[in-house]
């Protein structure tokens, strides 16, 4: 990343220098924003059933009688199946991608990914606790928090893992790559073991909920779930760009960042809480969808450089597009059945990513 350091320092000093990719980055963001709208529109019309999204839209706009008859089936398909799924795809895709980008900035390490370093596993443990123990020992919690109990516990799980991870991997302001990955693997294993205990005591009905949830899918998208998770994820997405300048400075090392006037400690705390909350909320509603958090920021770095001011919003947009598109494929490719989305993201994304790496070898240098 030697050549990239140049543009980071450039942006930190707010000067234009050779290799400044800001114009390209702005264009890319614009195109991606357009891409989100187009993908959402296409996803709304794609599905196993031949429900007319247009007819339903007309119904919303012109009201019942003026727009002609509308079958309840079409209405349910568009309104209760496709629309919440598309919104969830946008939320989860952008949430995971932006969390990946922020974590990579925080750890100054392109390998940091919520799935890879155990943050998702921690969130999973929290979510499974609610599913399995929600009827018994955690019943009072569920009674008080209602539908927010699951995302909140997922958040607590991912927060604990992120905090431990940061504590273990960072010494005297330096984050060790190897320690972070190893600690992440250890924490993942621990979270999985505890999840395993819960799976073992789960009854048949809970197991069904669990397997569905563990596969990672947007299939469980319902309006209440979208409503429960969207405030958290949206808050994270809105807050992230404000950390961009600080994260850029952090790339030069904590001491340099502090000298540049960045409140390093506060930045670290805020980013850790933000990433935990967003990953927790994403995992709580969609299970463990991997791959998005690491691939999206890397793809973008190849084109628009590592400047977090552009990277973070662009990651959110591309993440949303990727997940919406993957979900559209998973909904239609084996219709009337459905393919788990994790298979699609990995089967399409991984070879593509490898191809990029091969073509531009040396650009991403660990």
């Amino acid at each position: 990343m030697v050549s990239d350091t140049h543009s980071i320092s450039g942006s930190v000093m707010r000067g234009r220098s050779h290799g400044d990719r800001s114009p390209i980055a702005r264009l890319v963001i614009l195109l991606l924003a357009l891409g989100v709208v187009v993908t959402a529109a296409l996803s709304l019309t794609a599905g196993a059933a031949d429900a007319s999204a247009y007819a339903v839209l007309r119904h919303w706009v012109f009201g019942g009688s003026a727009a002609g008859p509308l079958s309840l089936r079409d209405q349910v398909i568009i309104q209760d199946i496709r629309l919440p799924r598309i919104l969830m795809g946008i939320l989860v895709g952008s949430g995971l991608a932006i969390s990946g980008a922020v974590l990579q900035g925080l750890f100054r390490n392109p390998l940091a990914d919520p799935g890879l370093v155990g943050v998702s596993a921690g969130a999973g443990l929290g979510a499974v606790s609610i599913i399995v123990l929600g009827g018994t020992s955690l019943a009072p919690v569920v009674a008080v928090l209602g539908i927010y109990a699951l995302p909140l516990f997922a958040f607590i799980g991912s927060l604990i893992v992120t905090l431990i991870l940061y504590r273990v991997a960072t010494r005297q302001g330096r984050t060790s790559i190897a320690t972070m990955l190893l600690a992440g693997i250890a924490l993942s294993a621990l979270a999985m073991a505890l999840t395993g205990v819960l799976v073992f005591v789960a009854d048949d009905r809970q197991l069904r909920d669990l397997t569905f949830w563990q596969l990672g899918s947007l299939a469980g998208a319902t309006w209440p779930k979208v409503a429960a998770s969207s405030p958290i994820i949206l808050l994270g997405i809105v807050a992230a760009p404000f950390m961009a300048r600080g994260l850029n400075a952090l790339a030069l090392g904590e001491a340099t960042a502090a000298h540049l006037g960045v409140p390093v400690q506060r930045l670290k705390h805020v980013t850790i809480v933000m990433v935990s909350a967003v990953v927790g909320a994403c995992v709580a509603i969609s299970g463990g969808i991997g791959f998005v958090g690491i691939v999206v920021p890397h793809l973008l770095r190849l084109f628009i450089g590592p400047d977090n001011r552009y990277l973070l919003p662009a990651s959110a947009l591309l993440g949303a597009i990727m997940l919406m598109a993957a979900d559209a494929v998973s909904r239609t490719i084996v219709a009337p059945a459905e393919l788990p989305i994790g298979i699609v993201t990995a089967a399409v994304g991984a070879p593509f990513f490898l191809w990029i790496l091969l073509r531009r070898r040396g650009v991403i240098d660990l």
Partner: protein
């Protein structure tokens, strides 16, 4: 005052009984639900599909789930996926006029969405015993508008069942049977109480070798030895979960049991053995004959 009080007491009593009756009624309501139009049915659950075909109404089906693999004609229908992993849009995409689903189909969100549409969703209860088979045939027949044929099929199944059960219940020394779902990685996943496997073992005049376990659970090796089954029962159609016979008997825990020592392994088709549909009576008969040999067929 007293009168009013007792009137209220009466009303409470009435309410209480009507609640009790009401819940009983809603329980039977699922059994007696009738589809207003049964020309295009989606069947979710192998037993339901089998019953519909056995009633001669296979032509009414427009889709099935992936557990519906019998009879062969069912395989030609579009597959909407695994019964616990349904995609609501996929189910609706075949334009059904009714959905018949086994209790426990899911995920819950998918079922909730399906119930929101104007397509009637009929839940068929799943009990793994004699009465459950008959009740299911009647419920399916009622739903698809063939109550008479269902009555005939049910009474025939009932007659055969009681014949078999008369023989199997006379068995004095009951064999201990361990149903092994899978042996992945040398770990024995077996059936405890409240499973279809447990139901079929009991109908066949045997006892489940494991006690005090609910559902399908992974067993510790020592628990397998402790259970000491006379027979191991497995499904033939288990795909990648299956182990070869040698592999099974090479398992040290299995080898230490009577079944292992005498190489007593019974393999039967999964849908046939555990479907609890019209073919179950044959499955029970076959299983008990393979367990007890000549002693059963009088």
């Amino acid at each position: 005052m007293l009168q009013r009080f007792s009137a209220r007491g009466l009303r409470v009593l009435f309410l209480a009984t009507s609640v009790a009756v009401g819940s009983a009624a809603s329980a039977t309501a699922t059994e007696t639900a009738v589809l207003p139009n049964s020309s295009r049915i989606v069947s979710i659950g192998g037993a339901i599909t089998e019953i519909i075909f056995a009633l001669g109404d296979g032509g009414k089906l427009v889709a099935r789930d992936s557990t519906s693999i019998y009879p062969e004609a069912a395989l030609e229908l579009p597959d909407v996926g695994y019964m616990r992993q349904l995609s609501p849009e996929g189910v609706l995409s075949v334009n059904p006029t009714g959905i018949l689903a086994l209790q426990g189909s899911g995920p819950r969100e998918a079922v909730d969405v399906l119930k929101k549409t104007d397509v009637p969703y009929v839940e068929i209860e799943e009990d793994w015993d004699r009465a459950g088979i008959v009740a299911r045939i009647l419920a399916v027949g009622m739903a698809i508008g063939a109550p008479d044929r269902a009555e005939m099929l049910a009474s025939e199944v009932e007659r055969k069942l009681s014949e078999v059960v008369r023989l199997t219940s006379a068995i004095q020394e009951k064999k201990r049977v361990l149903f092994v779902l899978s042996t992945q990685g040398g770990k024995i996943q077996a059936a405890g109480a409240n499973t279809a496997a447990n139901g079929i073992i009991e109908l066949a005049g045997a006892t489940n070798a494991i006690e005090g376990v609910d559902g399908y659970k992974q067993l510790a090796d020592e628990a397998v030895i402790e259970a000491n089954p006379d027979f191991i029962l497995m499904m033939t159609r288990v795909g990648e979960h299956g182990a070869s016979d040698d592999e099974l008997f090479a398992n040290p825990a299995i080898a230490a049991t009577t079944a292992g020592a005498e190489k007593h392994l019974i393999k039967m088709d999964g849908a046939y053995l555990l479907g609890f549909g019209p073919r179950t009576v044959d499955a029970v008969k076959e299983l008990s004959e393979r367990l007890y040999g000549d002693r059963i067929s009088d």
